[in-house]
Amino acid sequence: MRMLCGDIPIHLHVGASSMNSMLFIGLSQMGKTFACSNLMTDLMSKGFNVNVIDIGDKWGKADKDRLVARGALLRTVSSQGLVLPFPSRRELLGCAKHLLDALGIQSFNAVAALRESMSDMIENGNSFSMLELIQHMDFGKGVDADNEWREKIHLRLDTYEDAPDICLEVRANVEFLSESAIWDLSGVDETYARMLAYLLLYRFYCDGKGKFHRGENIKPSFIVLDEFQTLDVGRKSILGMCLTEGQKYGLNMVLLTQFLRGNFSDPLIAQFKQGGFRFYFRLTEEEARAVSQQLARNSGERDVLYQKLTRLPRGRCLMVGLHSVGESRRVTDKYRFVELEAKETDAGNNDGITGEPGYGKMKKENAKGVGIEDSAGNARQGKRKLGRGTVSFR
């Protein structure tokens, strides 16, 4: 995908710093998912790991196929199940809090009760499935002081439809993020889907943290969450932790939503500013006003921004993040109105991304924006301009 500001290509400098999280905001049908899908495809072609957590048919087949064609694994949890290996017992037990978050339970006692149950099950065989966990919770009812919470947790879990085939295990020396994948949670109950999303995030978080702790070379990876407003993004939630601390561990969140205002509180919205890249598609008046106030330096500029943001056509967005302009190597973080130009057949370097996995390891030839030179010729013929599904050839 190419990004054009006016008629000048814009190259995102992904991986040039530790701030690589991305936020896509815009009204429905403005091209967020399409743009994100293309951008992730480009990142994959640059060697970045991309994990898309689709919490229920948020991404269409075409969007998924684009990543699959680039080499991402499609993991349909409802049919294939999910095995989450944790390198240590402690880390596995740590997911108890996030499991309960998905159930809406925020109690230390509840966490303690679940941890105890999970601990019991690990001792039995280093792994357990979700179904086993539910049965175990039921089995232990009325045995000790934690029974009250066990009962509540069991009731909550048992209320929903059939639990998906999820297996948690303790297995040392496993790198969970070695490949790009699409975690398709469609067909799974909403609560379980949320739970799975948290578990996956936690797993990614643990993996990155482990590498950071061991001092290993951290390869930035991207975790995509579309319509993430359905998830808990509080500071203590796993998503909040990934947002605030994840970038340190090479864990970059790519979040897509329609609104920030109304869905999230102001402190949370402020938290999103930590994102390295932000893409604002057409916004509501309220959202546009907030964004323009946040970005503009004076009232005139604010008015222009506001007007533009509320009138952006499909396929155009306001981009904030490190980038370079045209053939220049100078990196700037100014905001730009860009037009997204996608290609049906990617030619590797023809995208709008510069850089490769690894902080500050930007290759010079990439930094020069080879996409411009390469864009001539046959590869151009396959370009599709984003916007109302029309195909335009340049």
Binding site: C5, G6, I8, A296, G300, E301, V304, L305, K308, L318, V325, G326, E327, S328, R329, R330, T332, K334, Y335, R336, F337
Partner: protein, 609 residues
């Protein structure tokens, strides 16, 4: 007192004369009756008296006849004579009344174009010389005025007062009859080309035309240069341009304007108007050299000072100009009185009318520095240089002389040709001015009939001039500004001009070809702006338009204008480079003009490393 009572006061008066005569005749008759011999004697005496009386009458008659004289005029080939005869037809004397033959005196009736008053023309051809004078028509009806004001009095013989009266009355009668019999002959009232039935003549203070001149025509002289070769003139033209460093585009404009001034009124009575601004040092002198067709000498009929001349004077003089431009000199400082005059003059140019009279001459505004607030619509701006004065436009005079001579010698041929070409051009193009200029170009080249090389050069030169004029007159503000904006972006992207941050690289401010910027503005030196305009193919006037539009739209950083002086477009920057302070005058354009929020800024477009 009592004696007077009851009686008439005339009672005591003597008898009346009649009564006395009757009493006397009665006494005489009584006496004659009494004495008959006395009566006979008395009758004879009476008869003698009668005879004597008759004789005296006869003698008186004869004496009177001898005293009578008659005056007659006799015209010979050489003079007009007065012959005095006695009553019996004997010639008493013969004098020369006028020393010219009546056959050599011609009387014509003239009227100047656009005027109602008729003129009496007296033409006297003698062996030695030919005299021609125009007088008011009223002279034809007055012997006294004829004698007092016409040259005929110089040819008067020695006459007595009575004879003089007789002779002048006779001559006046002849003149009056001849004047009445003649047809109306129209002659020009302004200097310049005048097309009569027989041919075209260029009217000015020239040999052969002096008698017909009025004050206006007489104020303009024409430099006539004979024996010219057009190819030599064109070669000289090319050499001149090279010598004085005049751009071909500028030379083309001046040449086109000069030819327009000379030939436009032959093509149409109402030529479309054109105005030219010559901006630069000694622009008035340069205008005088290159654009003036007729020389008004010290009278400076065609030069007006917009700072001081009365508008009524300007108005009246412009109305009487033809085939030579009206020059307006201005200091450019512009007080209220100046603006009033300027608005009037500019209004005439725009409307093509001066109080109902059609404006037929181009207007040339000469100013040292073109003021920022002058309107420029329909005006062609030419930046002049002092070095142009070295030549002074002599080549233009030669070219003009050759064309005038050719036009006059052709009768009405070139005039008709020009009209025909103009009509053809008008059919193809709605733009009258350009149609006329093209027609003039075609006819001028035909008149000159040059060889291939010279023809190609001159044709190209005129085309460049035409192109420049067309480009300047057709400028549209909004489009131009947009073109400037995009053009600068393109040139910066192409690397023609570099963009530097002034705070980081103050030294580049002194280097031409660099655009630099501070926190709020992009800064352009005058030279840089000229280079940009040149790179974008803009004419100089376009640069002025751009400045004006930028200013009007609030994109220019300007000093505050004082009450008298308008705001200037450029500001001064004080730069400190290598511990040396330098003052640079720059055009400061707000960044917003190029840099929209969220778009690639102008300086970023120049990042090509």
């Amino acid at each position: 007192m009592q004696n007077n009572v009851g009686g008439s006061p005339t009672f005591e008066y003597p008898l009346p004369q009649e009564q006395v005569s009757r009493m006397f005749i009665r006494e005489v008759q009584d006496y004659q009756l009494a004495h008959p011999e006395e009566m006979i004697r008395y009758q004879k005496e009476a008869e003698r008296d009668i005879l004597k009386s008759k004789l005296r009458q006869e003698e008186a008659k004869t004496r009177a006849l001898l005293k009578m004289k008659s005056k007659e005029i006799y015209c010979t080939e050489d003079n007009i004579q007065l012959v005095v005869k006695t009553g019996d037809g004997r010639e008493m004397s013969r004098k020369v009344a006028f020393r010219f033959g009546l056959g050599s005196l011609k009387v014509k009736r003239f009227r100047r174009e656009g005027e109602k008053e008729f003129l009496l023309a007296l033409i006297l051809k003698s062996k030695e010389k030919k005299m021609l004078r125009l007088y008011p028509a009223a002279f034809a009806s007055s012997p006294l005025k004829l004698r007092a004001h016409t040259f005929l009095s110089e040819y008067e013989g020695s006459l007595t007062d009575e004879e003089r009266r007789f002779c002048w009355a006779w001559l006046q009668k002849r003149i009056s009859e001849a004047y009445a019999d003649d047809i109306d002959n129209i002659i020009p009232s302004k200097a310049g080309f005048f097309q009569a039935e027989k041919g075209i003549c260029f009217w000015a203070d020239r040999e052969g035309l002096k008698p017909f001149l009025n004050e206006t025509i007489g104020s303009f002289s024409l430099d006539v240069i004979s024996g010219l070769d057009p190819d030599d003139i064109v070669r000289e033209l090319a050499g001149m341009a090279e010598k004085i460093g005049m751009e071909e585009r500028q030379l083309g404009v001046l040449l086109v304007v000069r030819l327009y001034t000379l030939l436009s009124n032959l093509a149409t009575e109402a030529p479309p108007n054109i105005g030219v601004i010559l901006s630069g040092e000694d622009s008035a002198e340069i205008a005088r050299g290159f654009l003036r067709v007729l020389d008004s000498g010290e009278s400076s009929w065609d030069f007006f000072n917009l700072d001081s001349d009365r508008i009524s004077l300007i108005r009246e003089r412009i109305k009487r100009l033809r085939n030579t431009p009206a020059f307006f000199v201005a200091s450019g400082s512009g007080g209220k009185a100046f603006w009033n005059r300027f608005q009037d003059v500019y209004g005439w140019l725009q409307n093509g009318l001066i109080e109902g009279t059609r404006l037929t001459v181009p207007m040339i505004f000469c100013v040292r520095e073109l003021p920022v607030d002058w309107p420029l619509d329909n005006l062609v701006v030419v930046q002049v240089a002092k070095r142009w004065l070295h030549d002074g436009g002599e080549v233009f005079d030669k070219l003009q002389s050759y064309i005038i001579e050719a036009v006059e010698n052709s009768g009405i041929h070139w005039g008709e040709a020009l009209k025909r070409h103009f009509q053809e051009q008008e059919k193809n193009d709605d733009w009258r001015l350009l149609s006329l200029l093209r027609a003039i170009k075609v006819v001028a080249l035909q008149i000159l009939d040059l060889h291939e090389e010279a023809n190609g050069y001159l044709c190209n030169l005129l085309d460049m001039g035409l192109g420049e004029i067309a480009a300047q007159v057709s400028l549209a503000d909004g489009y131009l500004l947009q073109k400037f904006r995009l053009g600068v972006c393109h040139e910066v992207e192409a690397g023609t001009f570099n963009v530097f941050d002034l705070t980081e690289h103050p030294e580049v401010a002194c280097v031409d070809g660099n655009i630099f910027f501070d926190g709020e503005n992009y800064l352009f030196t005058h030279k840089l702006l000229c280079s940009i305009c040149e790179a974008l193919g803009f004419v100089r006037k376009a640069a002025l338009y751009i400045k004006r539009e930028l200013s009007s739209q609030g994109y220019l950083k300007q000093y505050k204008g004082s009450g008298l002086r308008p705001k200037e477009y450029e500001i001064d920057l004080m730069l400190e480079v290598n511990d040396k302070k330098t003052k640079v005058s720059v055009l400061a354009v707000r960044k917003e003009f190029w840099d929209e929020p969220g778009e690639v800024a102008l300086f970023e477009r120049g990042w090509n490393e």
